[in-house]
Amino acid sequence: MLLMPEPNAAVLSRRGEIVAALRRIVPGEGVIDDPTALRVFESDGLTAYRQPPMVAVLPETKDQVVEILKYCRRNNVKVVPRGAGTSLSGGALPLADGVLLGMSKFNRILEIDAANRCAVVQPGVTNLGVTQAVQHLGFYYAPDPSSQIACTIGGNVAENSGGVHCLKYGLTTNNVLGVEMVSIDGEILRLGGKHFDAAGYDLLGVMVGSEGLLGVVTEVIVRLLPAPPGARAVLMGFPSIEAAGDCVADIISSGVVPAGMEMMDRPAVEAAEAFVGAGYPLDAEAVLIVELDGCEVEIDHLSALVESIARQRGVTSCRLSATEAERLLFWAGRKAAFPAVGRISPDYLCMDGTIPRRRLAEVLRRIRDMETQFGLAVANVFHAGDGNLHPLILYDANKPGELDRAEAFGAEILRLCVEVGGVLTGEHGVGIEKRDLMDVMFSRVDLEQQQRLKCAFDVESLLNPGKVFPTLCRCAELGRVHVKGGKTRFPDLPRF
């Protein structure tokens, strides 16, 4: 189990006073301190961890956010920002001595600017809500995390969320033009905008994916794209993971960038098929779904190309969706893979490492070996186009020791991802889940450099502490300059 920072007893002892102060800022129902009501916020999508906050506050205006943050800064109170609470890495896990800052009431679309292909939205608008608001104009918002019905744009910015289409259309960071944010000091900053490439340091780029550690976003300018005229999916079964992996590599090498390219192994296919009945081939070791979008001519051309590549790689079944309903059915199985696995196992942990695709077969083989070692089964779904794996480790939290074993298994998988040249997280974020593995991927100096960035935004480390970094930030120490041995080693080097 992961340890969170020790609650500050001095802050806890002032709980009544803090609640009263927050009520002065947000009158009415917006401040929640009833222990039962606080249970609503005790966890996010990483349900293995639960901790009710000291108090939750749901502001409705930017001024209230400013005042809340100023108050917390002055009074040394920690703040955990939260969107819809769908994080899979514990990014919104509350702190016992912290204020949970819920942004759900910021749910308005402020402007749709067709001429500049963007929309200005509040952070509590859902991901799907953006697309729904602009589709009558022929636009959509490209990033589409599986939780898009529920997850919010503010949370997407914090986590730099992806989705099945990000191989072709990018992550949140590539689809956000600007944000307005409030710093822990209560300052309002506007980063980016409707214009291209704001000069100076790319603070917008840093805010996206900062997991609530750098500021609270109060407005987001999202980039809109013209919706493709059509999309069709090819559903393919392969006799081995290797063959499916080779097919993916060949598709990429041929110059096709599919809108989405998803792979599932046999256990995941079986679970999904039993749940949804999408017509997946149950005799295959791997199922590949390749989505092609664009004009009809392009889809016809590319689907023929993909099918011919697949045949050369020994595909055993291959179906091109004939109707929109069939395309959605192909996806229904993949999109329901997590809940489907939830039906065959009481609990599961979802991993999120990315690997170079050429190592795919080897990594899956080694995960199979680990199943025996840890005595737990795994179902694999992954974004094959970009090498982003989602091994689902099946366990039963009610059996003593199984959660610990599942976590150890997960850590081993992520170490393997880094070992083969990959990374700890492709789209779910570090949060608390991968926090203690950061030093597998980064050196002490790498992590210190990241934490110095944090110091520039939040010198007292009050925003979402205990997330992302295995050690708490000590800004005074990190800011000290001591240059070692500068003059002793250098004189031997060539100088001209």
Binding site: K194, D197, L203, Q449, Q450, F490, L493, P494
Partner: protein
């Protein structure tokens, strides 16, 4: 003046450590092709990275390439082309613009966040940097990002390095995302539009589901110095992709715009390369050249107002209006290179402006890079201190205090 020639990353760390011990500022130089960009005052000591050149790893089917910092951009582009790939952000060659003769390097391009015409659809340089190794102002070697296309592990410091002009760390190695080179391309042309009409046409094209890859407009004077000279103002919209798709979309685009003309092949390549390199505005010496990034829908309004304000102003538009290249006659630009006039107009419509090419005295008279809001500036200063506390890496290159 000391010219430091590190042989490898360890040398870079040693040399920065040496400079840090005495708080000696260093000018970070890759190929030297961007020396004319930004404020002219430079540190005496130069850290010349030219020996850190070469591609370390290129895996076409992973869509990534890793190269040492001073690898010539052209060498990477040629290598990618051999496998039918390219850099999606279309890095431009600004040597004509900056009167430089040295080959641009990959890390220099990323440090300046330079993108070409394809930027309007494919994103900027910053969208394609996946990971890097670097030496900070303390002389420490550090890294961020990775060598895979999808990664959210830790803060996205790749974004921060792009556009930082070497003021945060010395890049020693970069990993970029690559994309397939399109099998076919075609450019629809419309002649004779006013700036206002052209910007509206570009918006119509970019808003249609036709996957337009680039959109530029050259008013009469600029058009007369392009490969399409002789037919007045020209608006160009580029499509790329698989051949049947390009043919279909080109027809649809021409129908949408009432366009009867198109180009492809070497003529089109030449046209777009000229747009990228700002060629249509480089015919005369004694000019001041600005890059203006207005809110795209206000581009014609912004350029029109500037044309009325400063006589003999020449412009052309890229990125569907998101980029205006502006050339002012030196004798009309004024002692600040036109900064007050240009920025005044840009502020009215929203956006920002950067002074790109001008005599050194003008580049020092007014800040080349746009002003920031006080809170943003203060935060950026604290960020600089976190990477380079002694202010020895390219100090003042980006802003006076950075």
């Amino acid at each position: 003046m000391t010219l430091l020639h590190p042989r490898d990353e360890a040398d870079v760390a040693d040399m920065v450590t040496w400079a840090a011990a005495d708080a000696r500022p260093l000018e970070i130089r890759g190929g030297g092709s961007k020396q004319g960009l930004g404020r002219s005052r430079r540190p005496d000591d130069v850290l010349d990275l030219s020996a850190l050149a070469g591609v370390i790893d290129y895996a076409p089917d992973e869509l990534v390439v890793t190269a040492l910092a001073a690898t010539p951009l052209g060498a990477i582009q040629r290598l990618l082309a051999q496998s039918g790939q390219m850099l999606a952000f279309d890095p431009p060659n600004w040597n004509g613009l900056l009167e430089a003769s040295h080959a641009p390097t990959v890390a220099g391009t990323m440090a300046c966040n330079l993108s070409g015409p394809r930027r309007v659809r494919a994103g900027a340089a910053r969208d394609h940097l996946l990971g890097f190794r670097a030496v900070n102002g303390r002389g420490e070697v550090w890294k961020s990002g990775g060598r895979v296309v999808k990664n959210v592990t830790g803060y996205d410091l790749c974004k921060l390095q792009c556009g930082a002009m070497g003021t945060l760390s010395v890049l020693t190695e970069v990993t970029l995302r690559t994309v397939p080179r399109p099998e076919a391309q075609g450019t629809a042309l419309v002649f004779g539009l006013s700036d206002q009409e052209a910007c509206a046409a570009m918006t119509r094209a970019l808003n249609a589901p036709l996957d337009v890859a680039a959109a530029a407009h050259a008013p009469g004077p600029a058009a007369s110095r392009s490969v399409l000279a002789g037919r007045g103002p020209v608006t160009a919209l580029r499509l790329e992709g698989h051949a049947p798709s390009v043919a279909f979309r080109l027809k649809a685009l021409q129908d949408l715009l009432g366009s009867a003309d198109s180009i492809e092949g070497p003529v089109a390549d030449r046209f777009w390369a000229d747009v990228a390199s700002v060629h249509p505005l480089l015919h005369k010496a004694e000019r001041v050249i600005w890059r203006v990034n207005p809110i795209p829908s206000k581009a014609a309004e912004c350029a029109g107002a500037l044309g009325r304000l400063i006589p003999e102003t020449e412009v052309f538009y890229d990125w569907g209006g998101g980029l205006i290249w502006l050339s002012l006659p030196l004798d009309k630009a004024g002692a600040d290179g036109g900064a007050r006039a240009v920025r005044g107009q840009v502020d009215l419509v929203g956006g920002h402006a950067t002074l790109i090419a001008a005599p050194a005295v003008l580049r020092d008279a007014a800040p080349a890079f746009p002003r920031e809001a006080p809170a943003v500036s203060a935060l950026s200063g604290r960020i600089k201190a976190g990477f380079d506390p002694l202010r020895i890496l390219n100090p003042g290159r980006l802003h006076e205090d950075r």
